[in-house]
Structures are given as structure tokens and as C-alpha cells.
């Protein structure tokens, strides 16, 4: 029982680290323009498909496929922002939210038309990466090298992001814009460019998550972005939306919680559990674990 729990804990950390990568995109965009970017889950799906296409059709090495997917989605995220969100920046939040939902529906159905409704399989891991090996940890817990790769890649990307946000000039401008959009604009921050950067970074992280999930589970499907996107959003809310460490922590927590539910034999309710967590968090502490209270002004 204990070893089973430990195995699920490690599975949960691996799954949770991909949720965290996607949650970062939600939280960064929400921090700056207060919009739930519904299309983010579809960018994750697009990243997985681009990675898959690069590996199978163009026969690129997996590392370049990974980078290529990140680059593709970076551009895609910026274009989506320019087309669907930028014209609505001064209109109501309801309008922007409906537009985001529209983009999400459009992209997932476009993928359905292009790639078909059936799940597409990734080539076996041995061919593109390495042979899967299992390592014994304490108390019978096991970890595979694929899980180690997933966790390490996510961790490296998140550390890079944290460094970028804290140290670089653009990162500083991002933080300023998220604190006060208008004041940042008055102080000479090019807010439009900062918003583009935010979408670019968030989308490339989602693409990275997409390729990792594609390799990890071996299948890619046109509607995979919907559920994962919602769960990543849950993770972002759980950690406190707008907070970057919160998104990482929330992702891990959600992944672990979901896998523990599977360990307890509730696997057919695992989606319901994720939403149950979301609704509970919103009711008890809407600001999340790391979030700050925003004072509403008239």
C-alpha cells in the first residue's frame, strides 16, 4: 500500500510539473491583462501536435522538435493575442472572455479537421529518446527515467522563467505592468510589447508541456487541450492567480492530488475531483494560496 502510494506520488509530481508549466501561462496573462486565456489549453495541444509532426514527418531530433514546438507556439500565441484580444482591450471583460472561448473552440475544431478525431500516437520512446528504465527508490517506490526527464525539464524551464522575471529588463517591465497597467504605460513601458512577450513566453511553456505530455502518455488528441487547460487553470487558481510560484506549487499539488485519488480507487472521478478542488478553493480562499487581495475600486 505504501509503495503504491509512493508510486502514485511520483506519478503525481511528473503530471503536476506539466500542469505547472501550463498554469504559468494562465497566471502570467491573467496577471497582466486580467483575462482567462481559454485558448491556452489549445496552444498546449498545438505544441504537442507540432512536436509530433516534427518528429514523425520531418524526422527531426526530439530536442529540436521540442524547441521547434516552443517557437511555433510562441508565434501562435502572439498572433492570437493580436487578432482576438488586442481589439478588445478597452471593452468589457465579458467580451474578451467570450472571444477567448471562441478562439479555443476554433483551434480545437481546426485540429479535429486537420488531424482527425482519432488519437495520434507518438513514436515509441526508444526510437526518439531512450529506452525506458526503472529505478528503485526507498520502500519499493519506482521512478522511470522518462519521469525524471519530465520533472527536470519542467524544473529547468521554471527556474529560467523565474530568473527572467526577476532579473531581466523585460521581466521587470512585466512585473510593473501587472502591478499597474496605466502607470507602467505612463512610465514609458511599451505595454503592448510587454503583453506580446507575456503571450510568447506563456505559449512556449505550454508547448513544452504539450511535447512532454505527448512523450509521457504517448498519444496526442485534438481535444486534449480542453481538460488539461482547465486543470492547469485550476492549478493557477489554487496557487493564487497572478502569482508565478503559486502556479508552480498549485500544479504540483493538483497533480499529486489527482494521482492520489487514482490510488484510492476513484479514477473514474478524477476530473470531477480536480473541479471539486477548484470550486472549494474559490469558495474558501478565492485569492488562492499565494495570491494577494485585490482591492476593488469604484
Amino acid at each position: 500500500m505504501l509503495s503504491n502510494l509512493l508510486v502514485q506520488l511520483i506519478n503525481g509530481i511528473a503530471l503536476g510539473s506539466t500542469y505547472a508549466l501550463i498554469a504559468l501561462g494562465y497566471t502570467m496573462v491573467y496577471g497582466i491583462i486580467l483575462l482567462i486565456n481559454f485558448a491556452h489549453g489549445e496552444i498546449f495541444m498545438a505544441g504537442a501536435f507540432v512536436g509530433l509532426m516534427l518528429v514523425t514527418v520531418f524526422k527531426v531530433h526530439i530536442i529540436f522538435a521540442f524547441l521547434g514546438a516552443m517557437l511555433f507556439c510562441m508565434i501562435m500565441g502572439v498572433i492570437i493575442e493580436k487578432i482576438a484580444y488586442k481589439p478588445l482591450r478597452r471593452s468589457t471583460r465579458l467580451a474578451a472572455l467570450i472571444s477567448a472561448i471562441g478562439v479555443s473552440i476554433f483551434l480545437s475544431n481546426l485540429a479535429n479537421l486537420v488531424f482527425g478525431a482519432k488519437p495520434t500516437t507518438f513514436p515509441p520512446t526508444e526510437e526518439i529518446l531512450f529506452k525506458i528504465q526503472t529505478y528503485e527508490l526507498i520502500a519499493g517506490a519506482q521512478i522511470t527515467n522518462l519521469q525524471i526527464l519530465t520533472i527536470v525539464t519542467s524544473a529547468v524551464l521554471m527556474v529560467c522563467l523565474q530568473y527572467f522575471i526577476k532579473k531581466s529588463r523585460i521581466g521587470k517591465a512585466m512585473r510593473a505592468t501587472s502591478q499597474d497597467y496605466d502607470t507602467a504605460a505612463l512610465m514609458g513601458v511599451n505595454v503592448n510589447r510587454i503583453i506580446s512577450y507575456t503571450f510568447a513566453i506563456g505559449s512556449s511553456l505550454a508547448a513544452a508541456g504539450g511535447v512532454l505530455v505527448g512523450i509521457y502518455f504517448g498519444v496526442v488528441k485534438y481535444n486534449m487541450g480542453f481538460m488539461v487547460g482547465l486543470k492547469a487553470f485550476t492549478a493557477a487558481v489554487l496557487g493564487g492567480i497572478g502569482s508565478i510560484p503559486g502556479a508552480m506549487f498549485g500544479g504540483l499539488l493538483l497533480g499529486i492530488g489527482e494521482m492520489l485519488a487514482v490510488a484510492l480507487g476513484l479514477s473514474s472521478y478524477r476530473d470531477a475531483i480536480a473541479f471539486g478542488i477548484l470550486i472549494l478553493v474559490l469558495l474558501i480562499k478565492p485569492t488562492g494560496l499565494f495570491g494577494t487581495q485585490i482591492q476593488k475600486k469604484v
Partner: protein, 305 residues
């Protein structure tokens, strides 16, 4: 009863029934999202509750159709209160996510409950929905929506949409009004669901997913958020055109996604934004008697301005 049944070929009658049901559903969502500005992404979930409740009522308990419909509506309204009471305190975006989450939870619960058919669905519902019944219910819903819009309650809802804090400063108990509005909208969704169940005769949990909610939202957005004639137009257009042109469902959803974005950018108030039956009547009067002031008709005194 039955005046309208059998007048048209069965195919057109079926389309008209579908249009009528979608008008009912869309009017419920229009009250929540259009009039009050609370984005509800789980409208199909309340439709689902109404559908399953009424189906069980008429299959297992042999209830008359009217009782089954009302039971479906009431249970959907009860769920609306249960979900709305905690979530309506949240701001718009969180409400959207919570309603969406509720829809998904409901779906996965229905998948796992064998008593209502699980993933196989609930089959063998008697086909009791006729064009006459749908037409009568639709007229009742339209009239009550027009009356709600022009009442004190409706004006309070519009005030909440425009600025919740300012509305509360003017003595509107926003949470109370939003809760009443939400349960009314869910009641209408439940009634629509009950009619739907007795039309298609087989209920499956996956028919009531996120995409169904988006389909209904699209009707409201296309017609014009907050406009009753607009919502009716939107529901009619989006139900009958794909049916007549026989779009495949993938292209339809692709188009719906693009439509949502385009409407928000180019015409955020929809085709008939700001148009109510009252303004149509006034314009018609002016056209009939140029130079005359439009008559104040009884029953529409409550309209301010």
C-alpha cells in the same frame, strides 16, 4: 390541443420543434449572461438536469407530461440555487469557470451512475413533445421574459450588469437579485431540457457537455446580449441554417468559434443589441402614424425611458 401538429411535413415540424426548444434555452441564458452579465458556461448542465429529471418522472413514475416538465424545471432551479449561492459572490470570470466545472462534474457523475444509464444513456423516453406544446411553452417564456425585463427586478439586473458596486450603493441587494435571476434562468433551462428529452427520446451525458453550452451562448451572442428579439433571432438562425444546409458538425463548431471572436470584435452587441419588443412596437407605431406619439400600451408602463 394539437392545433399545430401535422400541418407541416414531419421534417420541418421537427426543425421547428428544435428551434422552439433552443429559443427557450437561449432565453434562459440571455437572462443570466445578456441581461445580468454573468457568464454562465454550464447552461447545458441545467438543461441536462431538467432532461434527466423529466425523463425519469415520465418513465418510472408515469407522471403527466406537464408535471414532468415542471419537475425538471424545479430541480434545475434548485441546483441553480445550490451552485449559485456560493459562486455568484465571485467575480465574472470565476463564475464562468465554476459553472463550467459544475457541468463537467455533473457529466462525470452521470457517466458513473448506472441508475440513469451511465455512459450508455437513458433510452425509451416517450415522445411526448409536440409542436403545439413547444409553441405554448415558448410563448409563455417569451412573455414572462419581456415582463421580467420591464419590471423593477429586470432593471435591477441591468444595473448589476452595468456596475455592480454602483448598483449596491443604490440599495440593490446584488447577491439576492443575482441568485433569483440565476435560479429563474436555470428553471427555464430545465424546462427546455425536459422538452428536449421527450423529443430525442435518448439521453446521453456527452450530449450535455461544454460544446452544448457554447452553442446556446452563441445564439445569445449572435442575436445580441440582453435583447429578447435578438436572442430569438439568434436561436432561429443558428438552429435552422445548419439543419437546412446540412453542415457537418466539425465545420459548424469551427464556424461557431470564429463567429464568437468576430462578433465580439466587430459587433459586441450582436445583430439586434439594445432592441426590445417595446422599441420594435414604438417604431412600428411611428411608422403607421407619422407625427403621432406612440401609444402607451397597458402592461408596458414599467419601462423606464
Amino acid at each position: 390541443m394539437g392545433l399545430l401538429d401535422g400541418l407541416l411535413p414531419a421534417y420541418y415540424e421537427s426543425i421547428l420543434i428544435t428551434v422552439g426548444i433552443y429559443i427557450i434555452l437561449a432565453l434562459g441564458l440571455n437572462l443570466i449572461t445578456g441581461v445580468t452579465g454573468q457568464l454562465n458556461l454550464g447552461h447545458a448542465a441545467y438543461m441536462c438536469i431538467g432532461a434527466y429529471t423529466s425523463a425519469i418522472m415520465s418513465m418510472h413514475y408515469g407522471m403527466p407530461f406537464i408535471v414532468a416538465i415542471l419537475a425538471g424545471g424545479l430541480l434545475a432551479a434548485a441546483f441553480g440555487v445550490v451552485i449559485g449561492y456560493p459562486t455568484l459572490r465571485l467575480t465574472g470570470d470565476y463564475l464562468a469557470i465554476c459553472t463550467l466545472g459544475f457541468g463537467e462534474i455533473l457529466k462525470s457523475v452521470l457517466y458513473n451512475v448506472p441508475a440513469v444509464g451511465g455512459a450508455m444513456g437513458l433510452a425509451g423516453i416517450p415522445p411526448k413533445t409536440t409542436l403545439t406544446i413547444v409553441f405554448i411553452v415558448m410563448i409563455i417564456v417569451i412573455i414572462s421574459m419581456v415582463r421580467v425585463e420591464s419590471s423593477r427586478f429586470g432593471r435591477a439586473l441591468v444595473a448589476i450588469r452595468e456596475d455592480e458596486i454602483a448598483a449596491e450603493c443604490n440599495g440593490i441587494n446584488a447577491t439576492k437579485y443575482k441568485l433569483q435571476m440565476f435560479s429563474l434562468g436555470c428553471f427555464i433551462a430545465g424546462i427546455g431540457g425536459a422538452l428536449w428529452a421527450h423529443k430525442i427520446m435518448v439521453l446521453q451525458p456527452r450530449d450535455f457537455g461544454f460544446l452544448k453550452s457554447i452553442e446556446i451562448l452563441n445564439m445569445v451572442v449572435l442575436g445580441g446580449l440582453g435583447s429578447i428579439p435578438g436572442t430569438i433571432l439568434g436561436a432561429t438562425v443558428l438552429t435552422s441554417i445548419p439543419e437546412i444546409l446540412r453542415f457537418s458538425s466539425e465545420y459548424r463548431m469551427l464556424l461557431y468559434g470564429a463567429l464568437l471572436v468576430a462578433m465580439m470584435i466587430f459587433r459586441p452587441h450582436g445583430l439586434m443589441g439594445g432592441v426590445s419588443f417595446n422599441s420594435i412596437a414604438k417604431r412600428g407605431m411611428r411608422w403607421l402614424k407619422p407625427g403621432d406619439k406612440p401609444d402607451d400600451k397597458p402592461g408596458q408602463k414599467g419601462m423606464g425611458g
